[in-house]
Amino acid sequence: MAKRALSWKRAAAIGWRDLKSAPGKFGFVVLSVAVGVAALVGVRGFSDSFRRTLSVEARSLMAGDLSARIFRQPTADENAKIAGLLKSGVQTGKQGGGQSTWVVETISMASVPPDPVPVLVTLKAVDAVEYPYYGKAELEPQMTLAQALDGDSAVVAEEFLIRLNARVGQTLRLGGRNFRIAAVLKQEPDRMSAGAGMGPRVMISFAALERTGLLAPGSRAAERLLIKLPIQADPVEARKQIEAILPDAQVVDYREGNPALTQGLDNATAILSLICLVAMVLGAIGVAMAMHAHLEQRMDMLAILKAVGAGSADLLRIFLLQTLGLGLAGGLLGVAAGVGLMEAMPAVFGKLLPVHASLQFPWRSVAAGLGTGLLTTLLFCLPPLLDVRGVRPVLVLRRLVEPGPQGWRSWLASWWARRLQLGIGALVVAALGGIAWALSDSAKVGGWFAFLFAVALLVLLAMAAVTLASLRFLLNRVRLHLPSFMRHGLSNLYRPGNQSAAVMAALGTGVMLILAVFLMQAALLRDLRQTASPKLPNIFLIDVSSDEAAGVKEFFRHQPGITQPLDLMPVVRGRVISLNGKTLDQLAQDKSSHFPRQMLESAEMSWADAPPDGDKLTHGKWWSDANAAELAVGEGVAQRLHVGVGSAVDLDIGGTPRTLKVAAIYRADGQHLGARVTFVLPSGLLKNEPATWYGGAHVDPKQVPALERALFAAYPTVTVINLADVLLRIETVVDEITFVVRFLAGFSIFAGLMILASSIASTRFRRMREAVVLKTLGATRMRIVQTFSVEFSVLGLLAGSVGVVFANLLTRVLLHKLQVGFHIEWTATLVALLGTAVLATATGWIASYRILGLRPLEVLREE
C-alpha cells in the first residue's frame, strides 16, 4: 500500500474546525500566551527606545563631547593644561577650535523670604555663555540661560516652587545672598549626568556661586568639566590627555553616553525581561494544560480518527498546527497589547528616568516577544501532544480500556512509556535556560533562572498537591457535617479533569513573585528605619568652614532637643603618592581591579592627637607628639590597602610631600564620623591646611525644623541633611522601583488567572450539566452560586497560601543572606490570601458565564 500522510492544509482545516467548537476555552488559552508576550514586548520595546534615545542624543545628554568629573576644585595648573590641550587642537593639526567649561554641582540650603524655613536643594552653577555645548536648557518664560542667570538671578525646578509655595519673580535666599527667581527650569540637557540629587534643583551662574562663598576650599562639590572638541579631534585621544591632566577624574566621552545609566538600564531590562519570562512560561504551561485537557476530552474523536485510518503522525500534525495557531494568535494579541504597554511605560517608569524616551515601533522586541512566545508555547505543549500516540482505536468500541497490571512495576512502566515526554521535559528546561540567557545576556543568569524556576515550579506543584491531599483527607472525615453547598463546592476541587494542583502552582507563582518583592521591600525599609536609632546621628552638617567650626559647636550647645551632642570633624584632602614605596601606578598593576585608586588620589584625612570618640585602637599605639611623622588607618581601609603598623605612606598634603609611618589601626563605630575618613594624622601636620568640617548629631525629630531655621539664619552656607528626608527619598526611590517590578510581576498573576479560567472553561460542559441537575433537583440560583463560589474561592485561597508560604521562605533565605531580620507581614499575607481568593472567584465566574441562566432541558437533551 502506498504510504500517505495527511496534508498540512487538511490537518490545518481539521484543527481549525476543532478549535471553533470551543471558542470560550481557547479564548483564555490565547489570552494566557498574550500576557507574557505583551509584558516582554512592552519592557524590551521601551528599553530599546530608551537606548536609542541615549545614543541619538548622546551629545545633548552630556551637553558636551567629553566630560570629566572630580570631587575637588581644579587647580590653576590643571586649568592651564586643559586650555593648552584645546588650544593645540587635540592633535587635529589645526590650532584652536575646542572649548571647555566647568559645571559645579553641590547641595545647599535655600529659603524664600519671608518664610525662614530652608529646604535642601541641589545646586548647579554654570557659565551660561558656554553651557551647554549641545542641547538646550528649556526655561519658562522662554529666554536664554544667559539672560536668566544674569547677575544675582537663579532658575529653579517646578518642584522648588511647589515645595516652597513660591513663584517666578520672588527672592530666593542662598548662601547668605538674595537671588531673583528668573524662570522655571523645565529641562536641562545634562540632567541625567547630574545624578539623583537630594532636593529640588536650583541653577545659578558660576560667578554668582563664587559670591555666595558656598564653595569653600576643600568643599566636596562635584566639578564637571565639559569639553567641546574640535570637529576632527579624536575623542579617544582627547580622553587620554584629559585623564593624564586629571588623574582622579571620571572621564566619559559622548559615545559611551552615561555608562552607569546604560549599565543600569541593561541590568534592569535583563531582570524585568526575566520577570516577563515567568509570565510567559506560566502562559505556556497554561496552553499545555489546556491542550492536555482538550485531548482528554477529545479521546473519542481521536479514537474515531484512528479507527478510520489516521496515524499518530497525522493526529500530531493536527494538534501541532492547532497549538501553533493558538500561540500565534496569542503572540499577535500580545504584541498589540505590548506596544500599548510600551506607550504606557513612561507613566510607570517616568519618575525613575531622567530622560524622556522617544518611542518608536519596537520591531526587534516584537520579533523577540513573538519568537519567545511561540517557542515556549510549542516546547511546553510537546509532552501533552505526544500523548496522542497512545490513543487506541478500540476506544470506539469500549470506553474503558482494561487497566494494566497494578503495583510499582506498572508505575515504572508508565514512566518508561513516557520516556520521550520526560526527555522533552529536560529539553524544555534547557531551552528555557537558553531563552533566559538570550534575554539576560548572561549564560550564568540564564542557567540559574531555568534551574531555579524549574525547581520553584516543582516545589510549588508538590506543595499544591500536598495541600489538596490534606484538604481531601480532612474533607473525607467531616464532609457529612458540612453544609451541603460547602461540601459540594469543596468536592468540586477534585472534579475529574480539574487540574487543581497545576492551577494552584501557576497562580501561586504569581502571588509568590509579587509578595516576595513586597516583603523584601518592606524588610529592607524597616531595617533602614531601625538603623536610624536614637543613638545614631539623625542630622548631618556638611561644608562647615574652619572659621565657622567653633561657632557651630557653640550654637548646638544652646539648642533644645539635642539628644546626642554634635560630633564635628575636620577633613583635609590630600593625595597618596606611594604605599610602602610603591607608586599608585605600580600598585594598580599588582592588585586586583578593586584597587581603590580614586580614593587614594583624593584621600580624606582628619587630625586627632588621641583616638577620636568611638574609635577603638586594635593595633599599635596612638602618637603623643602632635608633629610625629605618623598616621592611623581604619581597619577596613588597612585591609583594602594591605598596610599594617609600620607600613610607610607617602602623602601629598597641600603640595608638600610627607613620608609617614602607620602607627595605629583603629575600628570606628557607626555612631561617630570616624569611618568617614581614610587616614587620621597628628594635628601638627594638618591644622594649618584648608579644612572642611563635617558634623553629626541626634536631635529630637520634632525640633529639627526649628534648628534648621536657626542654623540657616546664623550660618547660611552650612548645609544640613536631615536623615528623615534622606530615608523618605530612599523609600520613594525603592517604592518606585518595586512598583515597576510588582507591576510586571502582576502579569504572572494574570497568566495564573488565565490558566484558572481556561481550566474552568475546559470543564464547562460538566459544570453546565451539574448546574441543571441541581436545578432539576430543586436548587435555586443562589445555591448554585454558593457551590461554585466555594470552589473558586477555596482554590484561590489555597493558591494564595502556596504563594504566601513560598514567598516567605524565599524572602527569609534572601534576607538571611543580606543579614537583615525577617518578620512575618500579617497584613500583606492576609491581603495576598483574600486578594487571590477574590480574583479567583471573579475569574471563575467570568469563565462560567451563562451557566446560571441555562434551562435544564437544553442541557439534558444534549446527552
Binding site: 451541603s484 459540594h488 460538566r766 433537583l777 435555586t780 434551562r855 432541558l857 439534558l860
Partner: protein
C-alpha cells in the same frame, strides 16, 4: 394531579418556526403510572420537560396539584420541583464529585429542613447499595448508578416521579430491576409515575399508554382496553384526555 391545557411548544429557527408540541391536553390523576411512547423526535421528552417544569410552554397551561407552573418564577419553580417531583434520567445524571450517599442526600438538603441521612441510607439499602454508599459515581456500574438515581428521586417522598428512558442505558436484568423499583414505589406509596420509553415491554406494564406522533397525542389507552385512537376522544374512566 397533573393537568395540561392545550400546551404548545415551538422554537424559532431563523425565520422558520419549528413546532415540537402541537396542542396537548391531558389529565393524569394521582397515583397513575403513565407511559409516554413514540418515535424519536415525536416530542416525548419535551412533554416530560413541560410536565416537570424543566421548561415552559410557548402557549397553554400546566397545573400541578392545583398550582399553575407554566408561569411560575424560577425560584418558585425550583421549589415545586424540589418538593413535588423526583427525577430519573436515562444517563443517571449523578454529581461526579459527590459520593452515592451525598447524591441521594442532595434533594433533601436542597428542599427539606433537618438531616436526611437516615432516609438516604435506608433508600440506598432498599435499592441494594448498602455497601456502596461511600463510592463515587465513577466507581459504580451503570445499573448501580441508576439505582442511586432512583434513591435520589425518592428521598423527599415526592408525590410524582418522572423518568426519561430510565432503562435505556441498561442491560435487561438491570433494566428490569430498576423498573421493578419504580413500580414498587408507584404501588406501595401511591406515587404518580410518568415514564418516557421506547421499550414496548416497559410501556405494557403501565396503567396508561400515551402515544405521541409529530407533537400530537395519537393514542391514549389503558392497557387491556381498546385504544381511543385520537387525542380528543372522551374517556369515561376519568383517565382522560381533554379536547
Amino acid at each position: 394531579m397533573i393537568e395540561v391545557r392545550d400546551a404548545r411548544k415551538w422554537i424559532q429557527n431563523g425565520a422558520r418556526r419549528v413546532d415540537i408540541l402541537k396542542g396537548i391536553s391531558l389529565t393524569i390523576p394521582a397515583g397513575q403510572f403513565v407511559a409516554i411512547v413514540g418515535a424519536s423526535g415525536s416530542g416525548k421528552s419535551t412533554l416530560l420537560g413541560l410536565l416537570a417544569g424543566l421548561d415552559t410552554p410557548s402557549s397553554g397551561e400546566i397545573w400541578l396539584d392545583g398550582t399553575p407552573i407554566h408561569n411560575l418564577a424560577e425560584a418558585d419553580l425550583a421549589a415545586v420541583r424540589g418538593s413535588k417531583i423526583g427525577f430519573v434520567f436515562q444517563s443517571y445524571q449523578l454529581i461526579a464529585t459527590l459520593t452515592a450517599l451525598e447524591n441521594v442526600l442532595l434533594p433533601f438538603e436542597l428542599n427539606v429542613a433537618g438531616s436526611g441521612l437516615k432516609q438516604a441510607r435506608h433508600l440506598l439499602d432498599a435499592v441494594g447499595l448498602a455497601e456502596r454508599m461511600d463510592h463515587y459515581p465513577v466507581q459504580l456500574s451503570g445499573g448501580e448508578q441508576q439505582r442511586v438515581a432512583l434513591a435520589r428521586a425518592f428521598v423527599v417522598d415526592p408525590p410524582i416521579v418522572m423518568a426519561d428512558e430510565p432503562t435505556g442505558n441498561l442491560d435487561s436484568s438491570n433494566g428490569r430491576l430498576v423498573l421493578d423499583l419504580l413500580l414498587e414505589r408507584n404501588r406501595n406509596a401511591g406515587t404518580t409515575l410518568v415514564l418516557v420509553t421506547h421499550d414496548p415491554e416497559v410501556a405494557s406494564r403501565a396503567d396508561r399508554r400515551i402515544v405521541l406522533k409529530d407533537g400530537q397525542i395519537v393514542e391514549d389507552t389503558l392497557p387491556g382496553i381498546a385504544p381511543h385512537g385520537t387525542s380528543d376522544a372522551a374517556d369515561p374512566a376519568e383517565t382522560s384526555v381533554h379536547g
